[in-house]
Amino acid sequence: MEMKVILKYAGIVHEITGKLSEEIELGAETSLSDILRRLALQYGLRFKEHVFDYKANKPAPQILILLNGKIIQDYDRKINDGDFVSIMPMVSGG
């Protein structure tokens, strides 16, 4: 079954991808790390170095990955249809 996930980017992630937002279609049973691996392959070495190292299965320092607004640390977690995945730099108040 096809699922739709909405990706939101900011900061260096916006710079590397050239986008603030995109939608991707995935099969069922896709995990967060599957999505991040796919993005790393799509956007190349800069994504792997500065955003998410898919070999080590962890984000670069100062990168936050949110699922529907929540900080996620379990990247093997399965994604649902209509989920938002935000990949962004850590931000302060102001």
């Binding site: 603030l20 949110l66 607004g69 900080i71 962004m88 302060s92 108040g93």
Partner: protein
Amino acid sequence: MVEWHGYKGKILRVNLTKKEVKVEELKKDWCKLYIGQSGFGAKILWEEMQPKTDPLSPDNMLISSTGPFTGTLIPGSGSISYQFKSPATEAWAETRSGGSFGPKLKFAGFDLIVVTGKAEKPVYLWVHDGTCEIKNAEQLWGKTVHETTDRILREIGQPEASVACIGPAGEKLVKFAAIMNDYDRAAGRTGGGAVFASKNLKAIAASGEEGIEAADPDKFYEAVMEASETMRKYFFQELIGGLGTIGLVNALNAAGTLPTKNFATCFFPAADTVSGETLAEKYLIKRRACFGCTIGCGRYAWVPFGRFMTPPHEGPEYETTDMIGIQSLLEKENLEAIIRANYLCNNYGLDTISTGNVIAFATEAFEKGVITEKDTDGLKLEWNNPNLLLTLIGKIAKREGVGNLLAEGVKRAAEKIGKGADKFAVHVKGLEVPAHDPRGESRSFAIQYAVEPRGACHMHPNWAGAYDFVPLDNGLKPHGLPWPPPDKFAETGVKRGVAYKLLALHGELAEMLGICRFYLWGGEDFGLTCLTPKRLATLYSTLTGFKMDEFELMKAAERVWNLKRCFNVREGLTRKDDKLPKRLLEPIMTGPTKGQAVKDPDGILDEYYEASGWDKNTGIPTRRKLEELGLKDVADKLKL
């Protein structure tokens, strides 16, 4: 004769009714107990102001205060803070600004100024070289902030002096009129500009050449260098320094926590049109920094041509961009209109947060038919209308037509309108909620907005997200910070009350010492590149000679935090006033955090009261807590 280090040891007392100026010695035992800045303000207002004083009467007291760190080599020490009773909330008011006014006040020879009474005609104070002159300001009344500043600097003949002043909005007693300094720096919240005007006080100018002594110059210099080296690696330097606070727009939008359309939702599809990146590309001239600042978050921008043409000036900040632009859904020529709006607010002397909030409220009221063209002088209020927005700013500042209603602030405007308008009046205690949302960013904001003595504030006492929005410990682990932080949406059962108490006290330290709060945020995992309580204690002890460790400093912060609470209790505020607005209990409508709402505000508050030693039913600090803090006399006065 007392030798003072860090402090100047002098309080300037100005009675405008009697045209009297006196200098009094700062009490030495106040330093370790209340530290400085709003700590001293809290002590003075508690002891000297009568409860139920009319905030716009001559009996209100206006305190302009600095901390021991202000004006020294310590990074981030360009700070001035004002304390008074707020005309907006009828409760404790404190409002802080950067720039260089605070340091100039110290160089003029004073730790703080206490102004009482009311002048017969408009005046300004010229504070310099250990003295204060009361000068005629009749020719300045009615002038904008920029013009007032220019004229005063010319008149006193000291171009390097710093001027704090009000604009036409203050003169019209707008409930959210700001006290501006150094042209564009705003002590915006709680209506300080109206208090100035109620005293016929147009401005305070300050300058001098007095130095600030360190008790142990070698150790102090070492501590300053360590702090400065640390801050060179500040965790948020690239964001806040590189893009300015407006750099938060795209990131908070991606996270689904960008308040939009009077807090109906937290996601704005056109956010990039008003982002820090767009500002840098099209309108930025250069960066600016306050006195002694290593971060440099200030922006200096303009709109060189077009219908929103605006001269170069400082801003816009994230709060202004969201509250004035995004809350009103500006999508056409967005950022240019926001820059123009910022310039107008700075010159009228208006708090951009409250101004944006009340305009968005009025637009929603019109959309719902709760007000009509009959109430708005024929104006059709609608979203995404930059010309209308700029018109409304002018009307508010001059109290013209519907502007007169809106100038009362969103709480009073909603009360006057009735018809259920309170359901979408987004404030706490009468202070309009700013651009950080407890539903999308962190439930710690649910505590802060409820209990902060001045009302809903995102930055006083601290940025409430500096714990679980981004996992940061800020050097608070030795004080018992629960770690790791919980899910930012978790409400109870996660020791949030304990964590928030420590975050709040760390913020209070900045408010007492006289530094910018941006310096407080860092994480052990990221090198702890911030001014932790430990660093603050070393700086304080070597500067002032008053030896205090980080635990004693946090105790002093707790003392002042509770004293401010007791000021409000004396004014009749209790748990019933620690209430979140209905809008923040409704689910976010769109975006990554769709559906999030504060579900158990009472449960969250219960846990915080317990952590703080406050009575769960009344929200009043217990006698036991007050005696622990050395405030037995306060407990006696409140008959606890």
